[in-house]
């Protein structure tokens, strides 16, 4: 199954500041690398542009979920009050839509939130507890104060020696080759 294909090996190089990482990212994308990533302890402003990433499809996912929530709830309130079991409540119409707005709103929000959360997990393929990159001891610093560029072995331009030297050329230090799964 495609979902469970083996994770590739990577080559990583360390950078010492946000500036140098951003710079490196620009170089990587200029050089035509596709399957690479820039790792940092926090999101870096301008990095998407530097890496020439496409817009995240998150908006569509969330919007769709919100719409499903809203229409589902409109449908549920309508159906239960007119067909399911219509009851005279305080002499009001069966489908008192004004009074149903709060629940419709709440479910719209709830499903949007699910869209945002689960959409993000799905797009990031998380959870993914094992990753070859974790074999690197140095990489542990990425969640503290260090910056890395990683290039996957699946990249069409992948060539261990070339990549290594390229990374060094754009300022990467401690270049490390990590075997895939």
């Amino acid at each position: 199954m495609g979902l469970f294909k083996k994770l590739p090996g990577v080559i990583i190089a360390e950078f010492d500041s946000t500036g140098s990482l951003l710079h490196a990212a620009e170089k990587m994308s200029e050089a035509g690398y596709k399957k690479y990533d820039c790792h940092s302890p926090f999101p870096i402003h301008g990095m998407d542009k530097a890496m020439k990433l496409k817009r995240s499809p998150m908006g569509y996912i969330i919007g769709t979920m919100g719409l499903i929530g809203m229409s589902g709830m409109v449908g549920l309130t309508y159906w239960t009050n007119t067909y399911g079991y219509s009851m005279v409540i305080s002499g009001k119409p069966y489908f008192s839509w004004q009074a149903f707005i709060p629940v419709i709103f709440a479910i719209t929000i709830l499903l949007s939130a699910f869209g945002a959360f689960f959409g993000m997990l799905a797009l990031n393929k998380l959870p993914q507890l094992f990753n070859p990159i974790f074999n690197s001891d140095a990489f542990a610093k990425v969640t503290n104060d260090s910056f890395f560029v990683s290039v996957e072995s699946h990249d069409p331009m992948y060539d261990e020696a070339k990549v290594k030297s390229f990374l060094e050329s754009i300022g990467g230090k401690n270049v490390e080759v990590i075997k895939g799964e």
Binding site: M87, I89, S90, G91, K92, P93, A99
Partner: protein, 994 residues
């Protein structure tokens, strides 16, 4: 012998059936009380009485028919005429002192569950009162005595029979020397016949009759004035002007139902042109009758006596002129002239009545006044006393004196409890010690039973054969609805045994009596009597007695003597427990007083001014010293009580009777002496510094100037017939949505006439009985969780510091079944919704108990089961429950349903007969009980129905209609027919200070 009525599903019987077979149950029933049951002092006091009483009763044999033995057939054979699921109705009679109430009892598979009045009986006329309704519960009281006891040891009735047979022989020889009977008073052909036999068999024996609360003074007064034993029979509907002299005729006096009905009949007005009677009340305590009065004079008891004397003089009553002139309070003098004018103007159309607390002289005078006003044989008639045994304090005194002298070897006490309620100066308890064989026959192992050598449990009136006469002499039969639950023997059976020396069952004895009462063939007449409950044409002869004015002078001469300084103490019968006989009845104990709004306790009622003068306030514990006897009880301020007076209700403070009675209230009898049975002067009150938390359901006096009870003088009403509708100004009531149209089929609605409602609370208890409303106990009432579906609101108006100015109104409030009910929209689970016939349904089994509906109810009529109030109800008490109504679980909201079970029944019956429901098919429980006919109920979609017509009256208004909730219950504004010549002629503005 029965009217059949069909009902829908039953409920409780089902579980009884199941339960009866279970092993645990049988084990439980075997033990008398579970261990520790007698020493429970849990904080949640409902357990104190509802507690693990368990099934202390031999319920064996419950499965089959519990109808009387004579009718019982083996239960493998279906009992005649019993169809499971269909209630039967039997006519019987509830004897009550010298009067009786004819009733119809509904019975489900042999369990009596509900009492209604018998339309054929002159004392109930189809309606009832709270005591009648609640007597149902007394039948199933597990605290009732269940064993024959001899000196505390368990015996059988056969042992007693053997004992008596031996004694009988010797007393027969001595013609009853040393034998005495102390009986409750009665009006019963059979008991009277047995009494005659007793006197014949034991000519030297003594017979005494005593009731702590009785009409003795009335009978004595009449005897004085007319020289004969007479029974007054009032017809209030014949009177245009009524003067009540300390007579709370609508509630605590004898014949309250007919009084209420007659009074209401003269007061029910179609429109502003209708004629309306006028009521003057002179009283000391505030009573429900005082609340509906058009004019109310508040004076002390002894001043009422003077007032009557002065009134007689003014009216020119023969013989009264020679009486001394006594000083009257200024308020009385201002009253007299206009009152006399009014009475004279209505000669032959007036009525003067005096309460039973008034000394017999007053009754003699009242007789003379009515005579003078030509009311005889119109609004009041006198009939001969037949088969009546009247209470006599003197006879009790004679008995006690002779007991003390050791003259009696055997005293039989028939349903009497003198140790508790005899005047304290008789020292009855010590007198009993001098009697070798003291035999007590009673429902409870009470104070007297414990002091006697023999105790015989007797039967509840729903368990035995007997008979009774109403005050007008109409004979009625008391027939058992159920075989004796606790193997009691009826008074008839015991007395018969005493007289004849052999046991005969009650049925035979009563039939024996009735052979002479019915005409025609006995069997068919008897069957008709059993069916009707009464012989309709059996009323007593009317007597127009000679008027003996010479007696009046004598009486008046002693009317007014002695020093009347200090605080006057009034001994009043309780509207809840009466003289104590309902003390172990949960429904009555939990019924808040119509005026005090206090349940579960009696209080010392004083006026605001008196309390302020003493530096005391409500709920302060006080010591009342009445000539040496001290009563300690909480004080309660009742505006409109006479100043320097304290009202004490009798019948509370019982000990060792039962869980309900024992912790309720304070004993007053121990301070009541034979010289001051009604009121005593010269008492002192001191605070103890402690307080006592009372179970008070309404602590607010004022209406806060809100248009809740809308009230007007007749005269103003004539000028502004629509005043009630215009009492509230509000913008047009428009909805923002299309309203549901309740225009199809039956649309149920109710109307309550506030003019005739006296706050008697019959509706509240009828509702409790019909709808299985739990009793929750004193602590829960204190906590403000009363469960009654009908709340009788009481408001005072006027200046609370000036008792004379205080007026009182009552308003029964139950669910108003709003068409746009605010409770419905807030329930998250749709547990309260509207049915298409306009009922605001409360679906218990859907309710999750958020209580939001109750919050959003502007009338606050929703009741919440904060605990499982019925969990620990003894199985025997559950037998009183209506199988057509769900018993609510813990955590569930409940409220008035407009007796939906009765509506369903009517709907199903109508459908089965392929017809529509007609007006009168549905009679709701409160409406049926209401003696004043103040409640109308029916289909408001039917222009011809009674309720529609009542609602169309111009004084009808909907409470809080300005909220645009469209209540289905309307109220008819209260009209007071005020005499413009009286000193107080206006409805007073409401004082909002409290």
């Amino acid at each position: 012998m029965k009217k059949e009525n069909k009902v829908q599903e039953k409920k409780y019987f089902r579980s009884l059936e199941e339960l009866e077979g279970s092993k645990e149950y049988k084990e439980k029933a075997g033990r008398e009380f579970p261990e520790g049951a007698s020493e429970m002092n849990n904080d949640w006091s409902r357990r104190n009485f509802m507690g693990i009483m368990g099934a202390s009763i031999a319920l064996a044999g419950l499965a089959g028919c519990r109808r009387p033995k004579e009718k019982i057939v083996p239960y493998v054979i279906p009992p005649e005429d019993v169809i499971p699921g269909i209630a039967q109705q039997y006519a019987t009679t509830m004897p009550f002192g010298t009067s009786s109430y004819g009733i119809v009892v509904e019975s489900h598979e042999g369990r009596p569950t509900k009492i209604e009045g018998n339309k054929l009986h002159p004392s109930t006329l189809g309606s009832s009162n709270a005591m009648i309704q609640a007597s149902m519960l007394g039948l199933y009281d597990p605290d009732r005595s269940q064993k024959v006891l001899q000196k505390g040891k368990e015996k059988t009735f056969d042992d007693f029979t053997a004992f008596w047979v031996e004694k009988f022989a010797s007393y027969k020889d001595t013609k009853g020397e040393g034998l005495a009977v102390l009986s409750e008073s009665f009006a019963s052909p059979t008991l009277a016949r047995l009494k005659k036999n007793f006197e014949k068999t034991f000519p030297k024996a003594t017979w005494a009759t005593y009731e702590p609360v009785s009409d003795e003074n009335i009978y004595l007064g009449l005897k004085f004035a007319a020289g004969k034993d007479l029974q007054p029979v009032y017809d209030y509907s014949q009177a245009d002007v009524i003067l009540s002299l300390d007579s709370d005729f609508s509630l605590t006096e004898s014949e309250d139902i007919t009084a209420n009905a007659g009074f209401a009949a003269g007061r029910t007005i179609e429109d502003e042109q209708s004629k309306m009677n006028r009521l003057y009340v002179v009283e000391t305590a505030f009573s429900g009758t005082g609340g509906v009065a058009d004019h109310r004079l508040v004076i002390k008891q002894h001043e009422i006596v003077r007032f009557v004397n002065a009134l007689a003089k003014k009216l020119g009553v023969k013989g009264s002129q020679e009486t001394p002139n006594v000083d009257l309070p200024a308020s009385c003098n201002a009253w007299l002239d206009p009152l006399v004018q009014d009475l004279i103007a209505s000669k032959g159309k007036s009525l003067v009545v005096a309460g039973r607390r008034m000394p017999h002289g007053v009754h003699a005078l009242v007789y003379a006044i009515n005579n003078e006003l030509e009311n005889l044989n119109k609004s009041v008639k006198y009939v001969e006393l037949r088969d009546v045994e009247v209470s006599s304090v003197d006879s009790l005194k004679a008995l006690a004196d002779r007991m003390n002298s050791g003259l009696f070897s055997t005293v039989l006490m028939l349903n009497a409890n003198p140790v508790y309620n005899a005047p304290s100066d008789f020292r009855f308890k010590s007198a009993l010690k001098k009697v070798e064989n003291s035999i007590h026959v009673g429902l409870y192992n009470d104070e007297t039973a414990k002091a006697c050598s023999w105790h015989i449990p007797t039967t509840h009136y729903l368990e035995n054969w007997s008979d009774a006469r109403s005050v007008d002499g109409t004979a009625s039969v008391v027939q058992p609805l159920i075989a004796p639950l606790f193997n009691g023997k009826s008074a008839v059976e015991v007395l018969s045994l005493v007289v004849s020396g052999e046991f005969v069952d009650g049925h035979t004895i009563v039939k024996e009596t009735w052979k002479d009462l019915v005409s025609g063939g006995f069997d068919s007449s008897w069957r008709k009597v059993l069916h009707d409950g009464v012989i309709t044409s059996s009323s007593s002869k009317t007597i127009t007695p000679d008027y003996k004015s010479e007696y009046i002078y004598e009486v008046v001469g002693y009317l007014d003597q002695g020093n009347k300084d200090g605080i006057e103490v009034v001994f009043a019968s309780s509207p809840s427990v009466f003289d104590g006989r309902f003390a172990n009845n949960g429904w009555m104990q939990e019924l808040p007083g119509a005026v005090t709004r206090i349940a579960w306790d009696n209080v010392a009622q004083v006026s605001k001014k008196t309390a302020d003068g003493l530096g005391l306030k409500s709920e302060d514990m006080i010591d009342i010293n009445i000539n040496g006897a001290v009563i300690q009880m909480p004080l309660w301020v009742v505006p409109g009580t006479a100043d320097d007076t304290v009202i004490l209700e009798l019948g509370y403070g019982r000990k060792g009777i039962g869980r309900i009675a024992d912790k309720a209230g304070f004993d007053v009898y121990h301070a009541r002496t034979s010289s001051a049975m009604s009121y005593a002067s010269g008492a002192t009150i001191v605070g103890t510094g402690r307080t006592f938390e009372l179970a008070n359901v309404q602590d607010h006096w004022s209406m806060e100037n809100r248009p809740i009870v809308r009230e007007a003088n007749k005269e103003d009403y004539e000028h502004h017939p629509e005043f009630a509708k215009h009492a509230v100004h509000h913008p047009p009531l428009e909805s923002m949505w299309t309203e549901f149209k309740y225009d199809k089929g039956n649309q149920w609605g109710m109307a309550i006439d506030l003019t005739t409602c006296t706050g008697c609370s019959a509706c509240t208890i009828a509702c409790q009985s019909e709808n299985n409303i739990p009793v929750i106990g004193k602590q829960e009432v204190r906590n403000g969780r009363e469960m009654h579906w009908i709340r009788i609101d009481r408001y005072f108006s006027g200046d609370v510091d000036d008792s004379a100015s205080v007026e009182m109104v009552h308003q029964p409030i139950a669910c108003q079944h709003c068409e746009m009910a605010p409770c419905e929209q807030v329930c998250p689970v749709a547990a309260t919704v509207h049915s298409d016939d306009g009922l605001n349904s409360m679906v218990y089994n859907r309710c999750i108990g958020t209580r939001y509906c109750a919050n959003n109810c502007p009338y606050k009529v929703r009741r919440f089961n904060f605990f499982n109030f019925t969990k620990e109800t003894p199985e025997i008490v559950k037998m009183a429950m209506n199988p057509d109504v769900t018993v609510r679980a813990r955590g569930v909201m409940e409220k008035c349903t407009y007796c939906v079970q009765r509506i369903s029944k009517a709907r199903i019956e109508a459908k089965k007969e392929d017809r529509l429901i007609v007006d009168g098919d549905v009679v709701v429980a409160c409406q049926q009980a209401c003696p004043a006919n103040a409640i109308a109920f029916g289909d408001i979609n039917d222009p011809e129905s009674n309720v529609t017509k009542v609602k169309d009256r111009n004084r009808a208004y909907d409470l809080l209609a300005e909220l645009n909730i469209r209540p289905r219950t309307s109220f008819l504004a209260k009209i007071r027919n005020i005499n413009p010549n009286m000193p107080t002629t206006k409805i007073k503005p409401v004082d909002s200070k409290h």
